[in-house]
């Protein structure tokens, strides 16, 4: 079974600062993928970044990067130079290669202060 845990219900960051959102997961599968999705108030779920578990190198997408610690089953998201448009609910999710089932955490609501 897969589980995803986000222990921070809410976070706040000043504009232009850096913030890290935490995520831990558990899976019995050897082949899996990890994702961070962003859901603004309009509710369209947008893919932020993805990580293949077999890759040791941390994924980056512009101002977004992850810290993937496979042994610790940790997958945190770092947002650099935060912008007002980054304010949203962020969901961490895992997808098992065998089950092909995407399991979401409970989300972290990020507020960006001007």
């Amino acid at each position: 079974a897969q589980t995803v845990t986000q222990s921070q219900p809410e976070m706040s960051v000043q504009e232009a600062e850096t913030v890290t959102l935490s995520c831990t997961y558990d899976t019995s599968e050897s082949d899996y993928y990890l994702f961070w999705y962003k859901q603004p108030p309009s509710r369209q779920m947008i893919l932020v970044i993805r990580q293949e578990a077999y890759k040791q190198q941390n994924a980056t997408e512009n101002r977004f990067s992850v810290n993937f610690q496979k042994a610790a089953k940790s997958f945190s998201l770092k947002i650099s130079d935060s912008q007002l448009g980054d304010a949203a609910m962020y969901f961490c999710a895992s997808l098992g290669g065998a089950t092909n089932k995407l399991i979401f955490g409970t989300g972290t609501l990020l507020a960006v202060q001007p």
Binding site: V4, Y33, F35, Y37, S42, R43, Q44, M45, I46, L47, R50, E52, F91, A93, L95, G97, N100, K101, L102, F104, G105, T106, G107
Partner: protein, 117 residues
């Protein structure tokens, strides 16, 4: 490239009424998913289609929920009769689900917000 389309965006019904949602996935995507997202929670998978066949419907309340994807493209999700606890956002997603890297990434539509009174 057009994204996942869903309609309607909002629906208000009374309990025991019926409701249907429509989804059109990204062109060429073989796999289609319906999720239920209750306020304050992450999405929960209801049903997954591969082309027009059901892959996983283990979390679909089959006594009241039904879904179909007859021609392997767009899909409808129906609730009959609706209960108060069905109030949620219903998200549709699709993925390429072929061979190779990136095919498993799911892309989401804007969702349908359902309120059952």
């Amino acid at each position: 490239e057009a994204g996942v389309a869903q309609s309607p965006r909002y629906k208000i019904i009374e309990k025991r009424q019926s409701v249907a949602f429509w989804c059109n996935p990204i062109s060429g995507h073989a796999t289609l998913y319906w999720y239920q997202q209750i306020l304050g929670q992450g999405p929960k998978l209801l049903i997954q289609f591969q082309n027009n066949g059901v892959v996983d419907d283990s979390q679909l309340p089959k006594d009241r929920f039904s879904a179909e994807r007859l021609k392997g493209v767009d899909s409808t999700l129906k609730i009959q009769p609706a209960k108060l606890e069905d109030s949620a956002v219903y998200l549709c997603a699709s993925s390429l689900a072929g061979q190779g890297l990136g095919t498993e990434t799911q892309y989401f539509g804007p969702g349908t917000r359902l309120l059952v009174l």
